[in-house]
Symmetry: C2
Subunit: 827 residues, 2 copies
């Protein structure tokens, strides 16, 4: 088929509105049965229906390659349900961009592939080897994903660390050293002042040769803001120019993709490269954002790109999504050094279809990634994250009261954050604001940097802040937070009893309070800007500050009032009763839980961070309280809220549909609408069908025995229909507008001199899903969710009555929840 | 409805063979109301299949109560889909014993219940409180399950410990002390000989006042065997007389129950009491079995019994199964002190329907159970299990070779064990052997005890053995296994370098080799006997012995040949290169993996036992190898094999159906069979229907518009039909045999003097699931699995063609796998 014909067809498609009005576009697992008419298509070469939608997208090299690979998904394997003698028709079995895949068909195709390989494996040794290598390719892929995402995470950690320090100064001992490494390598440094070594020069030292006085302070201040602005500018420009998909945390989109949606290029190699670079820049710029969410996106990009090396995964959207689930686990694993938590995060929060095989493989990928990162050792302490801690002091039952208070705080903050952030993002989408992403980023960065520099706790990177807050004061800690009175006045080794707070602690307290307010406000405006931005770290920081404040307060209370009834049973004077670091950790868990509504995975991640079963109960109490409080103020977590904001077609598996509507209330056509457009199996001409195609925008048509009986035979996709007719008109001798199309197994003998018939049973899905009109919608929703359908036909007493698409279901759910049903944009 | 009528009907049911020939017995989520009473079917004896024990069991109160509660499931709430004006008909919406529940209907019912409560909650404060307490009842239930199962586990641990020691002697310082506690409390004991204190008297000391000489040995030997026989006899008798369901590990049955099968009394209070007692007896008797599997059963019994306190769970089979999933997690949690591993075990191995809400609740239950057990502190060491260890020495990459060898051993042992055990169990089922369970148990116990006593490692309890094998030799360890040369010749604190083995180690080696052989053989005959028996501990013991043997071998190799190329890069002389305890642990994981085919949960359980991420890679390598090797020799794990052996209707969710058959190949009627029995919606008389009920054994009938059109209207259950007709004949004036039954919404006006009509639309399921005849079976299997169906109707071009039941699907799967399709016994 020549390209001009493709052009013709895509024009016709556009004219008819199929591209803009995404009424319903289905793919079903058709062609399970081939028929005698199959040979018809034997000599039809590929109908090269290009993946048309991308006309309007700037064709980046990377993205084009992505496209090819996506297109490749269908080529060659789409048709395997039919006779294997037949040539597959290219273009069948692939999906358009921003469309939903048909899980049933994809899984069927994979099973067929597997069946074929298994059958062949008995024939020859080579085929056997192929079969074995096919079986192990999944494991190999996991290994590669683990290695790649672990390495990238290490790279990001090291670069971000270096660039964050670059804002404050530079190492003359070696430009590539960050502050800490610079002074490690120095010999001219005492332990007491381990951060101040001659090799490390602040900008004022370099530029005006002094570090003292107001002017030096201003120089450093200025350089700090300047670097921040430079990094932020680079980040937003790179994102804007090269890979618009690289912005944000990526988790809402990945959730949607895993549920079966297609967003071309979202997990492509340009996104990967740009996201990796800009993530480092964004983190280094000092904005209130983290790298944990984007690391999940980076790991998923790795997974997607590596899928191209394996036929099994390249060509099958469902199998590929299994790999992406595992990659998401690897991403969290390196973000928090928590392989088990990562797998549970993927299971609980991200994934849609998660068979047990994937669980095991995810675990493998997560472990490999964690070990890769550890062998890179980005923090020089054999730990995967900066804020790993080990506590040793036990907690007391009474402390559950403050922990639950922290849970309430976390829930309130979570609900508040989600509301305000969504409101701000909506404003960005609907007003002029959204048109100037670069300026927005620069303004926010400038404000953040200007406010941050004067305060020690906002100036340091957020990970460092969290690390300091989690840390329990030891004997040798020199930080402000550990400036207790009688510091050196103890004989008990490293464990210190509760002591009265010193001047440093009080100063730290009000600085932390200011930090808390600033983080709370600025994070609302930061999350959702056009730079890579994770939410985990800022949320945890907010919670950790609140927790530490409360913890120090409790500690002082216990010290000065250890004779109170609530204390005196377990807290004698001079004992180490309260661990403020633990409060910080509990607070962090509570806030993270309030924002994301994670539960088990949150507790497990925190458990892996502390390395002790001891503290699971406080963490759990806080996480549970936080989730309950936040849920009471708004059901959605931040990711679901962003999914809804963007109108992605995501069918939430956690929430049950709880209304008493029936399938007939949701199906199309509605009452008073014109009748459902159907094809008949043996009485329509090519012209009739072409008229229907031109006049309607539906992407699929039910085929019935006759208009009178309305008995359902099957379902045919618009796209397949167009390709096949065009093909037939070109190749098959004599197929003209008056030729009759047969969807039946055999066409009746024709009198001479009538035009030849066109047999299309092979593109007919002979097993469409049906429900009756009286089926409760809760069951329909369940079916859509569990089987991953795109559409479902509705019958009454055996007669076809209407159709329900995934979009109809989503709209109905939105309507029932008193939301705008038109917020669902895609199909 | 009077009892005589019940009698009539049950007779009719029996005559028609409905109870024996379970052609298909469906429940769909129809019949949201009905007639007559529940008791009807109460007195129909259950189809006593193999598991039949119930016939010869005196009807204990507990089991009867169980029954009622199960039946009670439908009362009161079954009714929502229809007119609320109508009275609910008792008996509708409940299930017979040994039948499968309809998940869709159960979930619908729960949603309706929830909806009703939510709606009411706006009306009054009291209703609001009810609504809130309803929402929190799940958490309360979890708390109670955790507390109860933790306490029971503690009780079992303590009693089993005491009774195991009772076989060897008794504490004169206090009869209730076990050996260890007895000597702890003693003052007359040196550290070196901490096991030998004057308060502890062996039987020979008590009986013949000496512990020396051959005669004393014989007395002790005799007493050991005697106690073992006594315990075993008590165990098997109690099981036989009071609760036949208490035998075995219970996990295959719990898997089946969780998949939706009903086995009355399996989780009842008598089962709980008897299983708890007999488990202690069986473990103490020294048989080669563990308490971990049965603890899951015990926890599930707790869950089931506690469900009765909450309407929400008592009345709904689906909700109750969610609770049972969580209870299973609590069971594993206390068995291994691994709450996260327990949840993953429940998710991976046991559960069928596991929504995320359950994940979180399971975690809560598992934690509460673990903390309860820890506060009971059965082992006096703040640990939850006897074999908790902490290793500190790192492992080396080269060691992966022996670890993988252990994996291969584990896989081979797993496959061998499953085959031989299943063959033996089949023999027990089919021959005379099965008729004498008491004698069988006594014989096996006698052989075990006689062989066990002379060998130190078989004489001790299996948990202790595992604990000793896992243990890394410290400086002060006095056991044989630590009898290295130059024991006290070190300066390095508690960590010892590799040393040459002493005489004790060599003796331990061959004793362990003998133990290995004995455990391998005897476990095959033990698992499946009529006593509670878990498989985890014996499997782990086999693996731990093999691992320790290999570990010591490696250690000696490394010591004597540290100049070999494979060692000299990392193992210098005098260093601590090899940790034999780690090998034991890896071996245990491999064998457990080979037998159960657990993966993630296994690794996580082991991770929680060692408490370090360090050793996950060795454990994972061994578990993966073991699974691959075992899978290559036979796909099924031990639990699935036992499910198949017993013919339970369990639709495996892990294995994909991989054959190219179509729905029409599986549906009934087959070709050449008589046509499908259908009812028409408006033309059959009461007599017609009664004839059909008498003549057929199907438990449900499709209703069509007319025989000619075969257009499907709905599906009606035999049981509902019988109840309704009987009801109508009794209550409704004038319904006689010639009355016409209407399933339509409105019946036409009747001429005078015709008998009144009977309207039965309310028992009609108006949304039966349908597929077309050309639907591939892989999709049908998927639908059955994911939606939890009991039956599905088959159509062709809108006409009804046949029906597929769950049993048909299972039979077809068995047939395709070249197994006996008649092995599926239940529906």
């Amino acid at each position: 088929m020549a390209m001009w014909q493709v052009g013709t067809f895509s024009k016709r498609l556009k004219r008819s509105g199929a591209m803009d009005n995404r009424g319903f576009q289905q793919g079903s697992f058709n062609n399970f049965r081939s028929s005698s008419s199959d040979e018809d298509l034997m000599d039809i070469p590929g109908t090269a229906m290009d993946f048309s939608m991308r006309d309007d997208v700037p064709p980046l090299d990377g993205e084009m390659e992505e496209d090819k690979s996506y297109n490749g998904g269908g080529l060659g394997s789409s048709n395997r349900m039919m006779d294997f003698l037949e040539e597959p028709i290219p273009g069948v079995g692939t999906y358009d961009d921003f469309n939903t895949i048909d899980w049933v068909r994809e899984k069927s195709r994979d099973r067929d592939r597997h069946r074929e390989i298994t059958n062949k494996s008995k024939e020859s040794t080579w085929a056997l080897i192929h079969s074995v290598s096919d079986a192990f390719s999944g494991w190999l892929l996991m290994l590669l994903i683990g290695l790649l995402s672990g390495s990238l995470a290490g790279l990001i950690d090291i670069s971000a660390h270096w660039m964050t320090d670059l804002k404050e100064g530079i190492c003359t001992g070696g430009l590539w050293f960050n502050h800490e490494h610079c002074c490690w390598n120095s010999k001219n440094v005492t332990f007491e002042e381990k951060d101040k070594c001659p090799e490390w020069n602040s900008w004022s030292q370099l530029l005006i040769s002094t570090d003292e006085g107001a002017f030096a302070y201003i120089v450093n201040y200025f350089m700090y803001v300047l670097w921040a602005l430079l990094f932020a500018f680079l980040a937003v420009s790179l994102v804007k120019v090269f890979a618009p998909y690289a912005c944000g945390s990526g988790i809402p989109e990945i959730k949607t993709i895993l549920s079966g949606f297609i967003i071309r290029g979202y997990l492509g190699k340009w996104t990967l490269i740009i996201k990796t670079i800009t993530l480092v820049l964004a983190v280094s710029s000092g904005l209130s954002l983290g790298k944990e969410g984007p690391l999940v996106h980076v790991a998923c990009c790795c997974g997607n790109i590596l899928c191209h090396c394996f036929n099994k995964y390249r060509k099958n959207e469902a199998k590929r999504r299994e790999v992406l689930s595992a990659a998401a686990a690897a991403g969290v694993s390196v973000a928090f050094g928590a392989p088990i938590g990562g797998v549970l995060f993927s299971l609980e929060e991200v994934s849609y279809y998660f068979p047990l095989k994937t669980l095991w493989r995810s675990f493998f990928a997560a472990l490999v990634a964690a070990f890769t990162l550890r062998s890179i050792n980005p923090f020089g302490n054999s730990r995967l994250v900066l804020f790993y801690v080990e506590f040793h002091t036990p907690w007391h039952l009474f402390e559950l009261v403050p922990f639950i208070l922290l849970g309430i705080f976390g829930g309130l903050w979570g609900a508040l954050f989600i509301r305000t952030n969504i409101a701000w993002c909506r404003k960005r989408k609907t007003t002029q604001l959204g048109k100037y992403p670069v300026i927005e980023v620069l303004v926010v960065t400038a404000i953040t940097a200007i406010l941050a520099f004067p305060n020690e706790y906002t100036r340091m990177s957020t990970s460092e802040l969290i690390s300091e807050l989690f840390n329990d004061c030891g004997l040798l800690d020199s930080s402000q937070l550990c400036d207790y009175e009688n510091r050196f006045n103890t004989s008990k080794g490293d464990e210190l009893p509760d002591r009265p707070a010193g001047v440093g602690v009080y100063r730290a307290m009000w600085q932390l309070a200011l930090t808390l307010i600033m983080k709370i406000v600025i994070t609302i405006f930061t999350f959702g800007m056009k730079v890579p931005s994770g939410l985990f770290i800022p949320s945890m920081a907010v919670g950790a500050i609140a927790g530490r404040l409360l913890g120090v307060g409790m500690e002082q209370l216990a010290y000065y009032h250890h004779d109170w009834a609530i204390f005196n049973s377990w807290c004698s004077q001079g004992a180490d009763c309260i661990t403020p670091g633990l409060y910080a950790m509990v607070g962090a868990a509570a806030c993270l839980g309030g924002v994301t509504r994670m539960t088990v995975s949150l507790v497990v991640i925190m458990f892996e961070l502390t390395g002790g079963l001891e503290y699971i109960v406080p963490l759990m109490a806080a996480a549970m309280t936080s989730k309950w409080v936040a849920d009471a103020l708004g059901r959605e977590g931040i990711y679901d809220a962003h999914i809804r904001l963007n109108g992605y077609p995501f069918l939430e598996a956690k929430e049950e549909f709880a209304h008493k509507t029936l399938a007939m209330d949701v199906m199309k056509p509605r009452r008073n609408d014109p009748l459902l457009t159907v094809l008949t199996q043996d009485s329509m001409t090519v012209e009739d069908v072409e008229t229907i195609i031109t006049e309607t925008t539906y992407s699929g048509f039910p085929v019935v025995v006759s208009r009178e009986s309305q008995r359902l035979v099957g379902f045919v996709l618009r796209r397949d229909l167009i390709i096949s007719i065009e093909n037939a008109r070109k190749k098959q001798d004599g197929v003209v507008s008056t030729s009759i199309i047969y969807f039946t197994e055999h066409s009746p003998p024709m009198p001479p001199y009538t035009p030849p018939t066109l047999k299309l049973r092979n593109i007919l899905d002979l097993s469409p899903f049906t429900v009756t009109d009286l089926t409760p919608m809760e069951i329909v929703v369940d079916i859509f969710r569990k089987l991953g359908l795109r559409q479902c036909l509705v019958t009454h007493n055996g007669r076809l009555l209407g159709i329900i698409t995934k979009k109809d279901v989503l709209k109905h759910i939105a309507q029932m929840a008193n939301q705008d049903p038109d917020s669902i944009l895609f199909n």
